[in-house]
Symmetry: C2
Subunit: 191 residues, 2 copies
């Protein structure tokens, strides 16, 4: 069993907490009001919007050393909905990894809407969490948490694939906002 | 009914031809040996690998003026399988549109493996063709061909979304090559 800290109590934070809980893992769910509470999870999910990540790292960065840090963000320009706010050849995950050199950073959960984590399905397909990262053990640990919680997990490759995962998350959000897919649907993964 | 020319007789060209045919459209399927045969479709699908597109445009570019041109390519670096060969802030579709200013260029079919076009399913989901482009009428025409052929079609936005579609196609190919998904599966779209 793993101990998972989730920083952020929004819909995604709560949905990921429920998955970990369903898998029998212990969960520490911390919101903005819990700034004085130390992080104690071996896996720490940054379940905050991308613009808030820098603050979290400024506040908690040192305490994240040695831990697995999971970036779930979709760094969209929410004014134009026409681009990401990270460099075209980079990713939010790459920025976070650069800011946290002593953490093992993974990209995950940015392509699964909260409702699909709760339902366990994307339409007629099982919900699949795509996980990118450079540390195989860290990926395996997160995949274990996800699958024990009743979802599918797929190793999407190295952390550089976060760029494509963020493109996928971006595209999926534009489809949902334009009512081409619902918030209970989106991209499913068929084995 | 539309008349569709498909340039390229590989698995994708044949699969797209079968979709159009199933929808009751007429299809002109041209291979490399048919260089002297004029293109006559109102919709022309460039069903050749990305490295061959420049040659096709050099050969056929003038005759593509006034037509809807569909780019299906995934411009991968097939040696490293670790990046696309187009600029990070661009796309193959954007390059093709720049080279064919008198054509209405669409991006489509690059996120659907040939087997999913033939089967009509991606796992338990119906096969969905994502279509990006700047011309609404052109997108509607292609969507009509796709849906008459028994598949789903989704308007993925402006041609600038080709960048995200190419990221999705790239990611899906890496998953298939690494046996995380099969060539009959991949990313499905759940409404």
């Amino acid at each position: 069993m793993a101990h998972v800290t989730i920083l952020g109590t929004g819909t995604m934070g709560q949905a990921i907490a429920a998955v970990a809980d369903a898998g029998g893992h212990t969960v520490q769910l911390l919101g903005q009001a819990d700034g004085a509470t130390p992080v104690d999870g071996e896996v720490v999910v940054l379940a905050v919007p991308y613009p808030a990540v820098a603050d979290v790292i400024a506040q908690r960065g040192e305490s994240l050393a040695g831990r697995i840090v999971v970036d779930i963000t979709n760094p969209l320009d929410f004014e134009t909905f026409d681009s990401l706010t990270v460099p075209a050849d980079g990713s939010a995950a790459a920025e976070i990894a650069a800011a946290l050199p002593q953490s093992r950073v993974l990209k995950a959960f940015n392509t699964t809407f909260a409702a699909t984590l709760a339902a366990g399905t994307v339409g007629a397909l099982p919900t699949t969490v795509l996980i990118a990262g450079d540390d195989a053990d860290a990926k395996a640990m997160l995949a274990g948490i996800v699958t024990s919680g009743g979802l599918e997990a797929v190793d999407a490759g190295s952390l550089s694939r976060a760029r494509e995962l963020e493109a996928l998350g971006f595209l999926q959000l534009t489809l949902a906002v334009n009512e081409k897919v619902s918030w209970t649907g989106g991209f499913g993964v068929a084995a």
